[in-house]
Amino acid sequence: MLQTRILRRISAMTASTSSATPSTSEGHKDRSRYRPVIGLEVHVQLNTRTKLFSRTPAGLEAGPNRLVSPFDMALPGTMPALNKQAVMHALKMAKLLKCTVPEKSRFDRKHYFYADMPAGYQITQTDMPIARDGSFAFHVFDEHVEPYWKEVPIIQLQLEQDSGKTIHHGKKCCALVEIVTTPCLRTALEATCFVQHLRLILMHYQICLGELHRGHLRVDANVSLSYDGKPGTRIEVKNINSVRCLHTAINYEIERQFSLLSRGEKIVKETRAADPEGRTVSMREKEDDTDYRFIPEPNLPLLKIQPEWREMNDRWVETQPPPRFQKFRDEFGFNPRSALHLAEDETLSSFIERCAEHFVPLENLTANDILVWMKELKTTMQRSKDVYPPASNRFAEQFVRAIDLYKKNRITRLRMLDLLRNLSADQESRTVDQILDAEDLWKIENADEIVSDLLKSQEKISEKARQGHAKSFGRLRNLAVEGSRKRIDVDQIEASLKRLLGLKT
């Protein structure tokens, strides 16, 4: 939920005073004059053992009302006791998102009625948040969009209670940092890439466990359409629970607003919820009617950020290895899209890391070669019903060695596929070189010798092929591949066959 005050601060960029009602009669139907304006609020559930303001365990699975302390029940006389670890996590996030950390920050009460929130208010931060004015940069891409670099200014980070989970739910609960971005995102794709990269970074630095389906990261999107640069009416979309849902909900909302505006109708400022398919539905709550009645939290003095806390967290962040997607992209040379895709999967990324030990020092191998052969390996292993990718270090080493040999033209493509099958079947204890030496499977450059022998032994078929019978030609080619024990490239065999048969090349 974006607080009214922040809204006011950013209203110049997004929202609401002058609605984008087009003046000309037909201009409002022109799609190119509209521009989507999207801002995000990401609620990050912090990886702490206890709640934000009580030492009740968080993160355990327990029955209803099992993880409750007197403070959580809002019993009179109980006081909030701030979790130091949550502050530390917030400071790490501030460092990662390049925020400035004011010397003091303040907690505020935000009042609203919610059945799971006995106090009748949520303790959050508004005017004096723990960190502000940051930025986050990432690659934007998908199958059809070439990766480009995007930098998103961050308005602020605020520490707050997870109001929905104060009591009742025994699951992971309570300490949150809300990240508020400026409304500078232009497409649903930019928004999803933002969340995907942010998630990996927060997981890498152990700030958040990052499981979207368990609510560790919850996103609200503020969407409006500007018309000829004039800001439109802002709609807040809540209840988005996956990256896919974020994408469809934003696009649905953009389309809905456009169809309303193009019919000459007005957008009513409201909060909408995304349904499981990503459609947005009205929550029947007009924003003018909500009044959170913010007041400074009287039970918590100003939080002074100790300089040594900041130094400690900054140093810790600096000394950590970079997140995997960053390492894959910058050190191993994967394209941004594959880097993200690989980093999102634990088994794939550890496979890449095992391979990287061996392929990074090799100059002729690129990350793309690894990707191409990983795809082949996947198909091979799926066919033999093995678990992909193989977990052993030995396999990774031999895998890279085989690719290297292939790239150096020492083995044929078909031999390479056979090798993958052999190596992944894990009965094989020999190295790639040992196999190739023992069975003499190195590539032969000159196909003519084997092919001419074959033509002599298969006179009937050769004759047919010479007259242009395609099937016979194919049969000869296959016989040659087999006869050479896959030591000759298929292309070379075909070329040689054509030459010796006197066919046109």
């Binding site: 702490t48 053992r49 206890t50 030492r55 009740t56 365990p57 029955g63 209803p64 009302n65 099992r66 993880l67 409750v68 302390s69 007197p70 029940m73 006791a81 701030l82 979790n83 130091k84 670890q85 949550a86 502050v87 303040r106 907690f107 009625f113 919610y114 059945a115 799971d116 009591i167 009742h168 709550e285 009617d289 009044d291 009645r293 007041i295 400074p296 009287p298 918590l300 003095p301 100003l302 939080l303 002074k304």
Partner: protein
Amino acid sequence: MSLILRRPGRLFNSIAVRWSNNDGRKGAGEKKTPLEGDEVLVPVEPYRSDVFENTPEDMPQFDQKLISQLERLSLVRFDSEQAVANLRQTVRIANRLKEIDVEGVEPMHSVWEEQECPVFEDIAEKPLPVEEVLRNAKVRYEEYFVTPPGNVPLESNAPLDLEKINQWDTRGQNIAPQHKKTKRTKQ
């Protein structure tokens, strides 16, 4: 509306005066006599600020929309026209705070501003046993509290008479000439 307090200076630092209270009948506004030998740190005579004297006569106007919104936010219905009139009176008095000149004065968040927010190590303690948690629950279902349904819009039934409300706004007459009734019920 935000309330901004001024730094009270030495006034709250030490309240060391014990009042002679032999008969126990000394009330607010009366002159008080300190015990012999006590240091006097507060004025002996009540101090009247002239800030509140120069109030403009603008009585806030309450319309039906505002009344419904207040009812919805508080989840409490106004009893009668008189209840709203009382609130208007209160708002008018509170509005006088706007007259105070706070230019260049940092807002005060707590009377002990040097105090730092204590932080606690992230070490779990034993939560309350579930029987304790549910002990005062009026209605429960298995191990859940049963709460009233949330965010149900209040229907505005039989709106209050706005004219009546807005006519009781003369100063000094903040009680509406009306008998106090029991709770208004739907007819």
